[in-house]
């Protein structure tokens, strides 16, 4: 076995085969390892934001049985109580959300606090001591306090000792109006605030082993009282998962295309391998080896190759994903979980699929080699039926695409694209023949020979063009999409992206607020009206959480929506169906497509909202996609301003406050005491960092595709090496000079490259447009210039490779070349 491996390593065809397989396996495992870890990290991060694995919520104290159960199952459990109350400091008073938390809060994620309003927060262990309160910065602003001052809450006084900068279990919405004030649960009774009549929210937060959590849920769920609920972690914040989602989709696509390329390289390398091996097979067959023996022999050899490729590729993939993970650093806020072994299996399947799908037909054909080949050196090796090869390759790639793309749509798109380009390349090479002959008339011998070669070796030219064209298509496509992706991300969050949200602006404050903002040099802002409404009817029938089975849908439908209005589609929104609501009788709602899908809503459905006891009924006239990471106020449901005229509403806007304007918040609060200012700079910095890190990760994965593209080219050229050597030897003997031969091969490759580049990048432009619009939801300007550049680059690249390939051969004396061929 080892000896065979060493022998195989000496064969350049085997080395190429191994290279192609290793590239494929590395790409798949690296992306899989990475995606797997990221996926689990996102879950973990979401859990960290959620503060627990599972939460029992209740409007009365949570039953002691639940505590006991959690303890029995070895779960960490912490109870909290939250309720609105008034905090007093001197003459000032403020509505706050009091949160009384037990020891060990939060069981998941962390709490970050700061001792200095000017400094960022640090994670903290523990909870406020008795007699201390930790508050959001807004509390200090509003009450005119500084750290160390005290405030009253009910019958107790608390020293404000720290600022809360980040809190798990913050409960989602950034539009939380009342600022938080946190005290220890043990300090709550003394305040005398909590009576059976209080509007308090009791929670039991549990966290621990996944299986124990599952058991806990199973045991608690059936016994839930009317006033109790069970909540588990949902996805992370939409603005962060949107960026990440695109990145994983891109990586997935890049790894798929890398496999397609690697598969092509395998197919080409196995052809070259078959040619070389057919003589050996002929000798064996002459010596009496049966076909079965030969088949077994090669299957064994390839099986070893698969294992080797899986091992090497898996190891490389594992190392590579460390690079990827390193690029991302710790922005997720939780450490990346360790890699699981699952991607190694994916690597093995990849190696098996790409090797056997692409290589089996030629190998089976190899076993049919006639022993006569020993006697006739010029006899051609047996080639597999073209249809069988195509069918096998198509089946393998399609199976792979469906598996990796996670659905037939992207798989179909890629498959059709690759198929189209292969067919186009073959047809083009074929039809080039006629044109090329005319072009070659009256040129120097080298050029004439080169062009004549394209015409004469049609099959070879077509193969080279198809291989090169596909490689080019993939690289231009990925390169283009990657750049667009990164550009779009960057431009979605420009330097002056809004970093403050102003909420709860009253109508009468609008003129003064506008003036205030303009005075501070803030010109770009858009004020959106906002009303709270509960979705109660659909097409005239009541709708409620009982109508839905999904937890997200249940929660969405039972909570209040923020409805807004605008005369035209806001930026960062994209209409995907219907038209924007107009004024008057024919007005309607525009609903975000994601929530429409979750709630099963469609165009024409009439929605009825209850807004402070009054009804607003309108049909859905449009669906839109929302770019959640845009830092603009975004709404699930919008309508025309006229439709909201009759309702009491507040306004919201987001503005960019320059770093130098330190007094912004203080001045704002002083002039508009009711307006809430939400500083989202921390969130913004996080998103920015994600984007830059994810862009780097995307570039990294793109590197694999480049490698695979190179493997394809090498393989394509490898298949023709023996033929070209003989050709060059004979022509040299007949009197061709090095210059002529170099010119011949270079011109042949140059022309093929130009055509392949033209077709490949042309199709890439088309594919890019399809991908951008169908998969990544990006606006895409077809880069026509890159089409031209692709043509030139193709010519240069393949011309250069051609020159490089023959460079070595033309130096060898014809006598030696002929000797080698005997």
């Amino acid at each position: 076995m080892i000896r065979q491996l060493v022998r195989d390593w000496r064969s350049s065809e085997m080395r190429l085969l191994l290279l192609a397989l290793v590239v494929a396996v590395t790409a798949v495992t690296a992306v899989d390892f990475f995606a797997d870890r990221i996926d689990r990290a996102i879950r973990a991060r979401a859990t960290a934001l959620f503060g627990a694995d599972l939460v029992v919520t209740s409007s009365r104290p949570v039953s002691p049985a639940s505590f006991a159960l959690a303890e029995k199952l070895g779960l960490k459990s912490v109870s909290t109580v939250a309720f609105p109350s008034i905090a007093l400091a001197g003459d000032a008073s403020l509505l706050v959300k009091v949160e009384a938390v037990g020891e060990g809060y939060p069981p998941r994620g962390r709490l970050e606090v700061s001792d200095d309003p000017e400094r960022p927060g640090q994670p903290v262990e523990g909870i406020p001591a008795a007699g201390e309160a930790w508050v959001e910065a807004r509390v200090l602003h509003r009450l005119g306090l500084k750290l160390g001052d005290s405030l009253s809450l009910g019958d107790s006084r608390f020293v404000v000792s720290r600022l809360i900068t980040f809190q798990a279990d913050a409960g989602g919405s950034v539009f939380q109006v009342a600022p938080r004030l946190m005290i220890a649960l043990s300090a709550l009774p003394a305040t005398g605030l909590l009576t059976p009549m209080s509007r308090a929210r009791h929670k039991l937060l549990v966290a621990g082993e996944a299986s124990a959590v599952t058991d806990f849920r199973a045991a608690v769920k059936p016994g839930l009282k009317r006033w109790e609920g069970l909540r588990s972690v949902d996805d992370g914040r939409p603005e962060i998962s949107a960026a990440l989602d695109r990145a994983t989709r891109f990586m997935r696509l890049a790894s798929i295309l890398t496999i397609v390329l690697a598969g092509a390289a395998v197919a080409l390398a196995i052809r070259a391998f078959g040619r070389v091996e057919s003589r050996r097979v002929a000798i064996w067959r002459g010596l009496g080896a049966t076909r079965t023996w030969i088949r077994r022999y090669y299957l064994r050899r390839l099986a070893v190759l698969v294992l080797l490729a899986t091992g090497v590729g898996g190891a490389l993939g594992f190392v590579a994903q460390f690079g990827l993970a390193g690029l991302l650093g710790d922005w997720l806020g939780v450490p990346l979980p360790g890699a699981s072994a699952w991607p190694l299996f994916a690597g093995l399947v990849t190696a098996l699929l790409s090797l056997f799908g692409f290589a089996l037909p030629p190998l089976l054909a190899l076993s049919r080699t006639s022993p006569m080949r020993v006697l006739r050196a010029d006899a051609q090796p047996v080639l597999p039926s073209v249809w069988l090869s195509l069918a096998s390759m198509s089946l393998a790639s399609f199976a792979f695409l469906v598996w990796q793309a996670g659905g037939p749509r992207l798989a179909g798109l890629v498959f059709a694209g690759v198929l189209a380009v292969v067919v186009a390349m073959f047809l083009a090479a074929w039809s080039l023949a006629a044109v090329a002959r005319r072009f070659a008339m009256g040129r120097a011998a080298g050029w004439r020979l080169g062009v004549a070669n394209i015409v004469r070796y049609r099959r070879r030219s077509a193969l080279l063009m198809a291989a090169f064209g596909v490689a080019f298509l993939v690289l231009v496509l990925l390169g283009g999409v990657r750049e667009d992706l990164i550009d779009t991300w960057r431009s979605s969050l420009p330097e002056d992206a809004p970093n403050h949200f102003l909420v709860n602006i009253q109508r009468h404050e609008l003129p003064n607020l506008r003036a205030f903002l303009r005075q501070r040099g803030i010109q770009r802002f858009r004020l959106y009206p906002m009303v709270r409404g509960r979705l109660l009817w659909r097409d005239g029938k009541p709708i409620g959480s009982a109508d839905y089975s999904g937890e997200r849908a249940k929660r969405l439908v039972s909570r209040e929506f923020f409805l807004s209005a605008a005369e035209a589609l806001p930026t960062a929104n994209k209409l995907i169906a219907g038209r924007w609501p107009v004024a008057g009788e024919t007005s309607g709602f525009s609903v975000e497509s994601g929530i429409a899908e979750t709630l099963g809503l469609g165009l024409g459905d009439v929605l009825g909202f209850d807004i402070a006891g009054r009804r607003l009924r309108l049909p859905i006239t449009s669906l839109r996609e929302v770019q959640w990471d845009s830092m603009q106020p975004n709404f699930f449901v919008m309508t025309h301003p006229d439709a909201l005229k009759a309702f009491a509403k507040s306004y919201i806007t987001s503005v960019y406050v320059a770093d130098g304007d330190a007094a912004f918040t203080t001045d704002l609060v002083r002039r508009f005491p009711a307006v809430t200012d939400l500083d989202v700079r921390v969130l913004l910095t996080r998103i920015r960092r994600i984007i830059s890190r994810v862009s780097a990760a995307v570039e990294f994965v793109f590197g694999f595709s480049l490698l695979a593209g190179i493997a394809v080219l090498l393989a394509a050229i490898q298949t023709q090496r023996a033929e070209r050597r003989q050709e060059i030897a004979v022509l040299k003997t007949l009197g061709a000079s090095r210059r002529q031969l170099q010119a011949a091969v270079a011109s042949e490759f140059l022309l093929l490259g130009a055509l392949a580049g033209f077709l490949g990048s042309g199709l890439a432009v088309l594919g890019g447009w399809l991908l951008a619009s169908q998969v990544f939801d990006l606006d895409y300007q077809p880069p026509l210039l890159s089409w031209l550049a692709g043509t030139g680059l193709g010519a240069l690249l393949l011309g250069g490779i051609g020159w490089w390939v023959v460079r070595g051969i033309v130096r060898v004396s014809p006598a030696r070349l002929l000797r080698e061929m005997r």
């Binding site: 010029d378 011998a445 003989q726 009197g735 000079s737 090095r738 004396s813 006598a815 002929l818």
Partner: protein, 233 residues
């Protein structure tokens, strides 16, 4: 040296490196071949026949000594100059035919014509010349066949057509019947000699077949790299 000789060798030596050792393939070979002569070089396998042929044709360079072809000293020319010297003036026939597998019979014969300079009058209409050359070897029905669709004898006839189509001054043939059965081989040799006579080409034939050597004007015997003597007819 005399200008009478179209091909000439003086103290020709060829050594190759085999690992640490130097292997001598040819030692001090002297020979001279006049225009129109038919000369055989005979010898056992591994005696250095093909090496000598390669040196005489300028396919390889000698380690020592001098080889002259068509009045030019091959040692003084670089590889491209030697190639130019051969183009259109030297033809080859090989034991393993060396037809280009991807090309049809007709295209194989056109190949040497395309290497001629554009203003060379022999180029004429390459396709017509190639057709005529194939007709002469009796293959006018096989123009569009690829080498693997032709028998060994047919392939060697295509090789002959390719060698003669440029009307060369010299033709080197390396075991031209080595891959053919006796009958086919004899027919190919008859054809070779007919064409040689018709065109007055100088023919250098490497063979181990003594009866074939017997049909030549002169015969050299090569043993262990040494040209041991000249056997007259």
């Amino acid at each position: 040296m005399t200008l009478d000789y179209l091909i000439e060798a003086r103290q020709l030596c060829k050594q190759v490196r085999n690992g640490e050792q130097w292997l001598t393939l040819l030692r001090d070979v002297d020979l001279g071949i006049r225009q129109g002569e038919v000369v055989a070089i005979v010898g056992a396998s591994g005696s250095g026949k093909s090496t000598l042929l390669g040196l005489l044709a300028g396919l390889d360079v000698a380690t020592r000594g001098e080889a002259r072809l068509l009045g030019e000293s091959l040692g003084a020319l670089d590889e491209d100059e030697r190639a130019r010297l051969r183009a259109g003036r030297v033809g080859f026939v090989f034991q393993s035919f060396q037809l280009l597998a991807g090309l049809t019979a007709l295209e194989n014969v056109i190949a040497p014509l395309e290497l001629l300079p554009r203003d060379d009058e022999r180029r004429g209409d390459p396709e017509a010349l190639a057709r005529a050359a194939l007709a002469e070897v009796g293959l006018n029905e096989r123009l569009r066949h690829f080498p693997n669709q032709l028998s060994g004898g047919e392939q060697q006839r295509v090789a002959l057509a390719r060698a003669f189509v440029v009307r060369p001054a010299v033709l080197f043939a390396d075991e031209p019947t080595g891959n053919l059965d006796a009958r086919t081989g004899a027919r190919v040799i008859d054809l070779l000699f007919d064409l040689q006579r018709e065109r007055g080409v100088t023919l250098v034939l490497v063979t181990h077949d003594e009866s074939l050597a017997g049909r030549c004007d002169r015969c050299y015997l090569l043993t262990d790299g040494r040209l041991s003597g000249e056997a007259g007819r």
